[in-house]
């Protein structure tokens, strides 16, 4: 099977185009080739890696703070309630006072009524 003449023409034209690259461009292409083989990893890639590490570290810090801070606040509230209960239980007189407070207020109101009568 013979090759289509137009295919041959395309190939020859493009080969000629590639071969006619000027000296300056050729030197630059050679430099790029050497750089790619000797130092394949670019600094840009390293910077990208570091930025990912930075983002990950910040995310972990924010999540940790979000988890720890509310817990500390609720602990503090619970402790304060606990101390108030202990104070009330420790002082018996005070508990009697709190238990009779309704009666005393009723008595007070009635005394006032009697005196009015």
């Amino acid at each position: 099977m013979t090759e289509d003449p137009i295919n041959k023409q395309i190939k020859q034209s493009l080969d000629a185009q590639a071969d006619s690259i000027d000296r300056q461009t050729q030197v630059k292409l050679n430099e790029l080739r050497h750089a790619a083989i000797k130092h394949p990893q670019t600094n840009q890639f390293n910077r990208f890696q570091w930025s990912l590490v930075g983002i990950a570290a910040t995310t972990v810090m924010v999540i940790s703070l979000m988890l720890i801070l509310p817990k500390q606040q609720t602990d503090h509230i619970d402790d304060s309630f606990m101390f108030e209960d202990l104070e009330l239980l420790a002082n018996e007189a005070d508990t009697d006072f709190y238990q009779d407070i309704d009666f005393l207020s009723w008595l007070d109101e009635n005394q006032w009524l009697e005196s009015d009568i």
Partner: protein, 200 residues
């Protein structure tokens, strides 16, 4: 006992040295093969990139990124796969370049600046003078290929010039084999018509 330990230590030290030397030789040999491969492809890859991105500096950037990515990711692949892989990376980088250009243009030129946008696109097209110059220097075919729609141009470059199979071309362009054949048929027809021999 001491002598035996000493001999063992010397043997293992010697073996480690040989392993290291062998690894260095393998790396050196691989680098030589990579260098030889890239040297044979660099001009053709640059020509393909330049045809697509139009600007010399952009074509250089595309080639640099392609070489870096190829060496980083595919140097340990079998050598007979290097060429299709290299051109697939090249095509991806060219597509990335076009995407960046589009988003950049969209960012800076609103719909009010459509004239400026048109001017920007026009500046990326080869000037009529350069087309005439190309034709005058006997590269009429190159001028015609440059005028083809993007996909048809790529099919001609990879299938006819780089002699890739239909499947390899499809893989590089990330389209189906059927689409490759269709684009190729249309491109060849247009080129034949332009050259004045549509019946060939």
């Amino acid at each position: 006992m001491d002598i035996a330990l000493n001999i063992n230590f010397n043997q293992s030290y010697h073996r480690e040295g040989l392993d290291k030397q062998a690894a260095e030789m393998t790396t050196q040999s691989l680098n030589n093969q990579l260098d030889a491969f890239l040297r044979t492809q660099q001009n053709q890859a640059y020509t393909i990139a330049l045809m697509s991105v139009r600007q010399e500096s952009d074509a250089m950037d595309v080639i640099q990124e392609t070489m870096m990515s190829f060496v980083n990711a595919y140097k340990h692949k079998p050598q007979n796969n290097w060429k299709p892989l290299f051109y697939r990376i090249l095509q991806n980088k060219i597509n990335d370049h076009h995407r960046k250009q589009k988003s950049w243009l969209r960012h800076f030129f609103s719909s009010k600046d459509s004239e400026a946008l048109t001017a920007q696109h026009a500046s990326q097209q080869p000037s009529p003078l350069s087309v005439i110059k190309t034709q005058e220097t006997g590269h009429e075919m190159i001028a015609l290929i440059k005028k083809l729609p993007e996909k048809q141009q790529q099919v001609v470059l990879y299938r006819h010039w780089q002699q890739m199979t239909v499947e390899e071309t499809a893989s590089i362009m990330q389209i189906s084999a059927g689409s490759v054949k269709t684009h190729l048929f249309r491109a060849t027809k247009k080129l034949k018509q332009a050259l004045g021999n549509p019946d060939d």
